[in-house]
């Protein structure tokens, strides 16, 4: 399914390349295939310079958001934690925009800025949402919305002050992923892979944490260390995704939920499956965003919000009598 979505994503868009040709062009790029065909030369340019890097970035972004969403849900033991809803994505967005507008060093520093923004946000939200020894569902979402709005407001302010980049930033905030070519992918790749690897190996620790921090500690888990590791991993992953694809909501919420309903709550499976499912989901959403109003393409964040927000409300309604959580 993931492969199919991948091929479709490469092939379709403002200019449609027949999927068969698309595959052949790709295989032809590999050194051990000699494939030629009669397609216009610009097919190859579009495919190689635009569609392929864009598609890989979109898949990785979806994977990153869903993976960190699953980890945040496990860490807070809260079915509604999502990088977007708890404000981390907005915080990362603020960090990214701050770097873009203040620093000429530019894009290499953007993920670092986003990472710092994400960590700052998660710290603030956690401190605000904590009641005694637990983080209740309601206060987590309220604190996330409040801190996220604050970060978004600061972001808007920064955009207005440095006005020449406002259009780029605007579409960034909506999850535009306007950047193209291989460059952003090269920068984001190491962060995304490092973050997601850390998330996958945290699966067992997240399982133990489901009994609560006290019991986890009594069972022998070094809770404080593990929490820091998971927060760093999830923030890093979110930040890298946000740096190059903008603030995209609800993927991190919807995907782990569906996975949990079908495959259960074992985080050793849940995290890797969420990563795969997130890649698939965002590819499909991105495809829809590009096709619906072709030749214009919508920011993918609009598509995920249109589908994700109603889903969020549905979860909220059944959260009270949740059995599979």
């Amino acid at each position: 399914m993931l492969v199919l979505a991948f091929v479709l994503s490469i092939a379709l868009g403002a200019v449609t390349i027949p999927p068969g040709n698309a595959l052949r062009i790709l295989l032809g790029k590999l050194p051990w295939f000699e494939i030629s065909g009669n397609w216009p030369e610009y097919f190859e340019t579009i495919l190689w310079e635009m569609r392929l890097p864009h598609t890989i970035l979109v898949a990785l972004t979806g994977a990153a958001l869903a993976g960190s969403g699953a980890a945040f849900q496990g860490l807070f033991r809260n079915p509604l934690a999502d990088p977007y809803l708890i404000g981390v994505a907005s915080g990362a967005g603020l960090g990214a925009i701050a770097i873009m507008s203040f620093s000429q060093a530019g894009k290499y520093l953007v993920p670092i800025g986003a990472f710092i923004g994400a960590l700052g946000t998660i710290y603030a939200v956690y401190a605000l949402a904590k009641v005694g020894r637990i983080v209740p569902l309601t206060t987590l979402i309220l604190a996330g919305v409040a801190v996220g709005s604050f970060a978004s407001a600061l972001t808007s302010f920064l955009m207005l002050v440095s006005d020449q980049m406002i259009l780029q930033a605007m579409s960034f905030l909506l999850g535009g992923s306007t950047v193209a070519g291989w460059e952003p992918l090269k920068i984001a790749f190491p962060y995304l892979i490092a973050g997601m690897t850390m998330l996958v190996i945290s699966g067992h620790s997240l399982n133990v944490l489901q009994f609560g921090e006290e019991q986890a500690q009594q069972l022998g888990l070094p809770v404080e260390k593990v929490k820091i590791l998971i927060i760093v991993a999830a923030s890093l992953t979110t930040a890298a995704a946000v740096s190059f694809s903008g603030v995209i909501g609800f993927v991190g919420l919807v995907v782990p939920h569906v996975i949990r309903m079908v495959w259960g709550g074992d985080y050793k499976k849940l995290i890797p499956l969420s990563i795969l499912g997130g890649g698939f989901t965002l590819l499909i959403s991105d495809l829809a965003a590009r096709i619906v109003m072709a030749p214009r393409s919508l920011p993918v964040g609009i598509v995920t919000a249109l589908v994700g927000a109603p889903f969020f409300l549905w979860i909220l309604r059944r959260a009270k009598r949740e059995v599979f959580w």
Partner: protein
């Protein structure tokens, strides 16, 4: 019988004080538990029983005093080192409902599992053994959220047994159990203590169960140690009347000679 080896406590609680913010929960409590001994912890609600268990298991910091586990301060253990010596059976509430019973019991092996949580053959053997002992094997595929409170309590005991430690702390383990499983649990506990020379500290509500199970009893009131000793020395009508504000009578069972108390109604 087993209380003879004084002076070699496995668990030595020395003048321990603890507080939640400004509220004192434990005030200079000293209790030691010897190898092979069951010490019953009793006291009215809010007396500090659960707090004592939280401090001894290293999740709440003491305000003053210390807890020695095998002559070593409890705070000097890493979580994983401590979990190989001391296991806790908490009260059954707020269980991660998405796990199956078997997965939950297997997590008792956390201190032995690697970071990825891949169980060895020994881990699985201990898990299955523990589930047999507490009679939850037939539930192994069921989700924790789908089983009753009493079954959850037995799963928590199995999880602690899978942890394979010489010391066990239990926080009101018979709370959600019906009569059959109350008796089964206490009988199992006694036989494990005899077979494996375990050391047990157990908070309990039912005074007669304490009397029937524990070698010694410690009575806590308002965070202070009121009295400690053999059941018949602590569970006197005077002590109970004073601390629980309830009139009781005591008598010895005609056949077993065990000490029992009866509320006057």
């Amino acid at each position: 019988m087993r209380s003879g080896n004084q002076g070699n406590p496995v668990l030595d609680i020395r003048s321990l004080s603890a507080a939640y913010g400004e509220v004192t929960a434990l005030d200079r409590v000293s209790i030691s538990v010897n190898r092979g001994e069951i010490l019953g912890l009793i006291g009215p609600n809010g007396a500090g029983k659960s707090t004592l268990i939280r401090v001894v298991s290293g999740i709440l910091k003491a305000k003053a005093g210390e807890v020695l586990l095998n002559k070593q301060n409890i705070t000097s253990y890493t979580p994983s080192q401590r979990a190989r010596v001391l296991a806790v059976v908490p009260q059954a509430r707020q269980l991660g409902g998405a796990f199956s019973v078997e997965q939950a019991v297997l997590l008792g092996r956390t201190a032995y599992l690697g970071f990825l949580g891949k169980p060895s053959k020994l881990d699985l053997e201990k898990t299955y053994w523990a589930m047999e002992q507490t009679e939850v094997t037939h539930l192994s595929e069921r989700k924790l959220a789908e089983i009753s409170g009493g079954e959850q309590q037995r799963v928590l005991l199995a999880r602690a047994l899978a942890q394979d430690t010489p010391v066990l702390l239990l926080d009101e383990p018979t709370n959600h159990l019906d009569l059959k499983y109350q008796v089964n649990l206490l009988t199992l506990l006694k036989s494990l203590v005899n077979k494996q020379n375990l050391t047990v500290l157990m908070a309990m509500h039912d005074l007669n169960q304490v009397s029937g199970t524990a070698d010694r009893v410690a009575l806590l009131v308002d965070g202070c140690l009121h009295s400690i000793g053999k059941p018949e020395e602590v569970l006197t009508p005077e002590n109970i009347n004073e601390t629980y504000q309830t009139k009781v009578e005591s008598f010895n069972h005609p056949r077993t000679g065990k000490h029992y108390i009866f509320p006057m109604m």
